[in-house]
Subunit: 355 residues, 2 copies
DNA sequence: CACGGGTATGTTAGCGGTAACACTCGTCAG
DNA sequence: CTGACGAGTGTTACCGCTAACATACCCGTG
């Protein structure tokens, strides 16, 4: 009778019985304890194999006080950036033998971030990575009094939370300098939402580069990262006199902008040069192929796990720490020489054919 | 002395002491057990609040044999489809009070899928969602002897694993019929990799629709989902006599194809109509805005969790079950009337200007 | 007024591991 | 020859929770 029941999966005691040792010895083998005779170890291993034994996760976690699980809080994991970062995080964590538990936020509010962290804490995660690029969530993090190791991706400016981020400022500067080298008088900017730290960094880099070159700084247009907002920005920009170069804060908006330019018969790069940011896989096939700033999201993910694990495993609070991953320019067809005939001080309607 | 130590987080016994009850009563309150006096409940709740008590996840999991954690195995979570599906899964799971642990595969092999499932099993997940659109992984699933509740997204054809998927066949049919309605003689196809079930479904739907309409079925070109492969396919197609309409198996490849057409001065939709699949956010801003088949990934995620939770919570094996989520056509500018002058049996070089 | 039966609560025994300590041997120094 | 010591192994005590059973008390009833 009892043999027909859906037998419970074997436990350590079963292995011990089969191998003719105590359960503690089994535990020793599993934990690579040195004081186990080779022959005994073999016997235990054989028993484990025969029974298909697997250590019970919960029991182990209960006594060791470690779940070997990392929590990730992220904003909209559908976006290329967060998705790629999480991919890197997951790969690195798994390589180190950690599980990754994810909470994906619809909206990015301080309360939402805190709630998510609370949820993960309830699961007993050993540490948390917050991919929270908004300033509000950075503030939430700063206010966090958890003693749980935490690392922020893009946004740990305030507070003692260590942070890993791509060098937005320098990336933006590269974009602008690239355009200036082509002889453009100045570079316009379509930025991301103002409360995003990444948007802020790119804006700052753009300003710095223009300032350093002594160029006029046009009023930036604020988008929301979506292709649509880039499209709208494009239509606004078309009417700007003297426009020959635009630095768009992400590739998706750049796509929208290119579309708007196409509708208004502005040719890129002959009349206006465009540079994006992110280097999404599609960028190479935009009309025209987009010059953009490449971000190594995988590296960001890896580095953040590296820091987090170091803190978890050493119990070290390590203080504030900031890792900056460089960004690099990928030159493609959307940027080129400034048009020879500048329409510098021309009136509203320039030589371009506009509808 | 002892008060200066980093005090261990409070346990049930601490709450019990503070509330002047036994730890079991605390447990009863936490588990909404009916037999607790209202006043006692209040007192316990107050104590919990005061101490900031949180139930220990591992201890609870150990005794209930449930981790309230769901495992997700997915191929390349960087892609829009998987990322969106996982987003839906995560939202639905969290709403039901479950954690979501993710393993993201670099390559999709049967061994990889099994290893990932093993990894998650080691964490003690209560159930698994496999977002594994390749045929090889579907086979791996079928061979799986785990007694863990499992549900497949796109791909549980073989074996008793329940599956949730978008109606690829019907989606493809809609794409083709849409094109045929515009008077196109036939529709070419750029398919996905042959071992992907989604690619297979779209191919089948395309064939069926053409067969039903009594149209010739051109040789499909096989891509790998990437924009580049679409680009290459585009260059191949340009030389096909009689080409007026193409159904591309995903939007990314469609982008590449549009690029190739642009380089060869083929205008879309005037000379050739193009329809994609997926409806990625960028599609609306492609040159020209892409007519495509919209997939409700969120719904797929939600439905798969629904099935999984039902099986977990009822212990019900439920047998084979298949949920099909409809796909819908989104008509945009890339598709339109077939050109009046058919270049039906024309020689290699047609009236088009080709470089 | 003794008694059955429900309600509110307490007590006890695990869940399946790991850590600490105890024990049994050889081996070797004094 | 004996005691110290370390290697190999076993025994026991938890980790923090829930389930099962035990207990105390209240009520209505014959």
């Amino acid at each position: 009778m009892s043999s027909s029941e859906p037998r419970r999966s074997p436990v350590m005691a079963d292995v011990a019985r089969l191998a003719g040792v105590s359960h503690q010895t089994v535990s020793r083998v599993l934990n690579d304890h040195p004081n186990v005779r080779g022959e005994t170890r073999e016997r235990v291993l054989a028993a484990i194999d025969e029974l298909g034994y697997r250590r019970n996760f919960a029991a182990r976690a209960l006594v060791t006080r470690q779940t070997r699980t990392l929590g990730v809080v992220s904003f909209d994991t559908t976006l290329y950036g967060p998705a790629s970062t999480i991919y890197g995080i997951e790969q690195a964590a798994r390589a180190a033998g950690y599980f990754v538990s994810i909470v994906s936020l619809k909206t990015l509010t301080a309360a939402g971030v805190l709630e998510a962290i609370g949820f993960l804490t309830g699961q007993g995660v050993d540490g948390i990575v917050v991919v929270a690029p908004q300033r509000s969530s950075a503030r939430a993090l700063a206010a966090l009094t958890t003693n749980l190791p935490t690392v922020a991706v893009e946004g740990g400016r305030a507070g003692g939370v260590p942070a890993v981020s791509v060098d937005q400022v320098n990336g933006a500067r590269q974009a602008v300098e690239h355009l200036l080298e082509f002889g453009h008088e100045t570079v316009w900017h379509v930025s991301g939402p103002s409360d995003w730290l990444e948007a802020e960094g790119r804006l700052k880099g753009w300003r710095k580069a223009l300032t350093a070159a002594g160029r006029p700084i046009p009023e930036p247009i604020v988008g929301d990262w979506s292709p649509r907002s880039g499209y709208e920005a494009g239509h606004l920009l078309v009417d700007q006199p003297g426009l020959t170069a635009v630095f768009v804060a992400n590739d998706q908006m750049a796509l929208g902008l290119l579309r708007a330019f196409a509708e208004r018969r502005i040719s890129v790069p002959e009349e206006v040069s465009v540079v994006g940011f992110d280097d999404i896989p599609e960028a190479e096939f935009f009309p025209p192929p987009l010059t953009t700033i490449h971000q190594d999201f995988g590296e960001v993910g890896r580095r953040s796990i590296e820091i987090l694990l170091r803190r978890i495993e050493s119990g070290d609070d390590g203080g504030y720490e900031r890792v900056v991953v460089p960004a690099s320019l990928v030159a493609r067809a959307s940027s080129g020489q400034a048009p020879r005939r500048r329409t510098k001080a021309a009136p509203r309607s320039t030589g371009r054919r506009s509808a």
